[in-house]
Amino acid sequence: MKVTGLKWALPTTVLALAVLAAGSSGGANAIRHGRQDVEAKLEYCKTCHGLWGEGYHGYFAMPRLAGQQPRYIENQLRAFIERRRSNPVMFNVAHSLHPSMLAALADHFHALNPPPAGIGPQRLAASGKTIYEEGIPEANVAACLACHGLEARGGDEIPRLAGQLYPYLVKTLTGWEKQRGQGAGKSDTSAIMAPTAHNLTQSQIAAVAAYVSHLK
């Protein structure tokens, strides 16, 4: 665990320095990928994730990125690349992103704020609110707000849930251990959610997903 952590500390520092350097020198030319490439890549992201980053429900649900925490977005892109989060399509997408683009992409989506685009059943929202705010102590489910915040906007590495697509939330919570925290021995913050996702029943997942999907 420690070794992988260190392995990643170095590239991350280099990346952070590179981004800082690019920022301080002030020119888009300082980064290998200029503004135009970032714009083209944003268009690319939005083809699937919605014109305003609101998410899109195709055969699979493509999550809302609008308002998402930049560090969470960057972490997930790295998780795809390292196959800690298994998704063949996003593995390829993340691979095509130059590290110097990540901050610009993440910041762009963080600043967007469209209304929720995939809300769950309203009738489930009330019981979902109770779970979100109080947890289910007898089932070892912590209150979601403890980490994700009262308004479900997340913070730092913890994702925003407000306005996320209902089908995406349900699928993610249902299949947590099949998609996240893959690759034995690789350090991954998704482990924090594993017991909670595991302890929620299908109807509790539906309720809490419905509640946060309505939040703006």
Partner: protein
């Protein structure tokens, strides 16, 4: 010009009539004249059999509203749906969606592998998105997202090319954007691959 147009229309109808079956109700027969026996598609008219009913309904509405403005749509479908009620559109959509589809299998077999890769993963370096995430692992479609598997090569190729040319720009999101990023060779490969999917 007008005369030539009529001639083509008559020729098309004659061709379609050969394919039509005698024992279908009149309203369905109006479709199968061109879309073929059991809705399997003939020449320029795409297969309807097995298509998602919500997709068919949405397309019928788009012909009615003239937002699907591709040349053949204008020429044939705008008129065909002009007097169609929403109720009939729904019934026709339901009917054709339940017919078992047959794969056209008329693409270039040599392009199947390339087409499959583009379909499943896209081409991230040139900003081509994955088709699978919306159209499904077996190109079966879902809700108002169409089934693509087994449609005719020429139809698939034409639709993708025409989005790039600016047709059907309204009400088909995200396809105009998706198709714009595809090269003619990539379109060829995708259309070939899809035509073989059963």
């Amino acid at each position: 010009m007008r005369f030539i147009g009529k001639k083509i229309a008559v020729a098309a109808l004659t061709l379609c009539a050969i394919a039509a079956q005698a024992d279908e109700p009149a309203e369905i027969k109006n479709c199968t004249w061109c879309h073929g026996t059991s809705g399997q598609g003939v020449s320029t008219a795409p297969r309807l059999a097995g298509q998602r009913h919500r997709y068919i309904e949405k397309q019928l509405a788009s012909f009615y509203q003239h937002t699907r403005d591709n040349p053949f749509s204008r020429q044939f479908m705008w008129g065909a749906v002009a007097a169609l009620s929403p109720q009939s559109a729904r019934e026709l959509a339901d009917y054709f969606s339940t017919l078992p589809p047959k794969a056209a299998s008329d693409g270039d077999p040599g392009l199947v592998e390339t087409g499959k890769t583009i379909y499943e993963l896209g081409i991230p370096d040139s900003n081509v998105v994955s088709c699978l995430v919306c159209h499904g692992p077996n190109a079966e479609g879902v809700r108002e997202i169409p089934r693509l598997g087994g449609l005719a090569y020429s139809y698939l190729k034409r639709r993708l090319a025409q989005w790039g040319e600016g047709y059907h720009a309204v009400g088909a999101y995200p396809m105009p954007r998706v198709a714009r990023s595809l090269s003619p060779n990539e379109i060829d490969a995708l259309a070939s691959y899809l035509s073989f999917i059963k």
